[in-house]
């Protein structure tokens, strides 16, 4: 069966497809947030070492992992836009950046609030924390660079280069706890298994899926506005129901 994938790479088609997908992602995210918080606060037991403080994990870990993952997706879209000259890919990269930046900030914020009671410090210049801070700066740099160039296609190309080069930071964040002596703990969940309580794992995975779906929903909603902004002179835009009203 031949699917014409390039059909979905046209902004006018994707605008409508994205509009249909947003409510599905948004509602599943909302349901999973409620389920994840319920498991995290009422099912998962108190930790022997960290008492209740460990419950910050249910937002800290999903925010941190998604902040890194979204960066790679953003850089991937930016690279596609650079290589194939597809406008939609570059618009997707621009739509993902603010969500990634907010999640990187949330990771640092919740990390500080977890670090204070456990380590006695809000912040240390440890490899894990520093590389995550650089990730936030890379996101902000991408957004600022894109905004500073008037011609959108030139802005796409310049910021794509920044995104691609910056992606070297993601494995550095991930492996920082192995490569250097960090105050930040190593990964609790490895490919070889985990020692975490089952309910703690379930809470964490549910919250991770919830943040993931939320990020998809909000990015699709944002890319719809970006498409309209950049295609405002196109015939199909003036034919839309929401524009004709």
């Amino acid at each position: 069966m031949a699917i014409n994938w390039f059909k979905y790479s046209s902004p006018s088609t994707f605008y409508k497809v994205a509009g249909k997908m947003v409510p599905w992602f948004a509602w599943s995210a909302a349901i999973l947030f409620i389920a994840g918080l319920y498991i995290g606060f009422f099912v998962a037991p108190t930790d022997i070492q960290q008492s209740e403080a460990y419950r910050i994990m249910f937002i800290h870990v999903p925010a941190s992992i998604l902040s890194m993952f979204i960066y790679l997706i953003m850089a991937g879209y930016a690279a596609l836009g650079l290589i194939f000259n597809t406008r939609l890919s570059s618009m997707m990269a621009s739509a993902l950046a603010p969500t990634g930046a907010l999640l990187a900030f949330l990771s640092l914020w919740t990390g500080a609030l977890w670090g204070k009671p456990m380590w006695g410090a809000w912040w240390v210049w440890d490899a894990r924390l520093t590389s995550e801070l650089i990730l936030l700066f890379l996101y902000l740099g991408f957004i600022a660079l894109h905004a500073s160039i008037d011609d959108p296609r030139r802005a796409d190309r310049a910021s794509a280069l920044l995104a691609i080069i910056g992606s070297v930071n993601v494995p550095i964040i991930y492996f920082s706890v192995q490569w250097w002596n960090t105050l930040h703990q190593g990964a609790s969940v490895k490919f070889s298994g985990t020692s975490m309580h089952v309910a703690m794992q379930q809470g964490m995975y549910t919250m991770m899926l919830a943040v993931w779906l939320y990020a998809i929903a909000v990015s699709l909603l944002r890319v719809r506005s970006i498409i309209l902004e950049r295609e405002s002179k196109a015939q199909w835009v003036s034919g839309l129901v929401e524009v004709r009203r």
Partner: protein, 56 residues
């Protein structure tokens, strides 16, 4: 376990609720900003359309 005990989080209340409170705030701000952006561009497109109608 009663609710007072639950919200006290064994002395870690400010750290835990500070984390989840910020998460909620960020999600709300992001949703408001994204919806505002859509309202702005739609308004702009209406204006452009009306201007064209006047000209023709």
């Amino acid at each position: 376990m009663n609710w007072g005990e639950f919200f006290a989080m064994n002395g870690y209340a400010s750290y835990i609720w500070g984390s989840y409170g910020m998460a909620l705030l960020i999600f709300i701000i992001e949703i408001v900003m994204v919806r505002h952006r859509r309202a702005l561009i739609l308004q702009q497109l209406h204006l452009m359309r009306n201007a064209e109608d006047v000209m023709t």
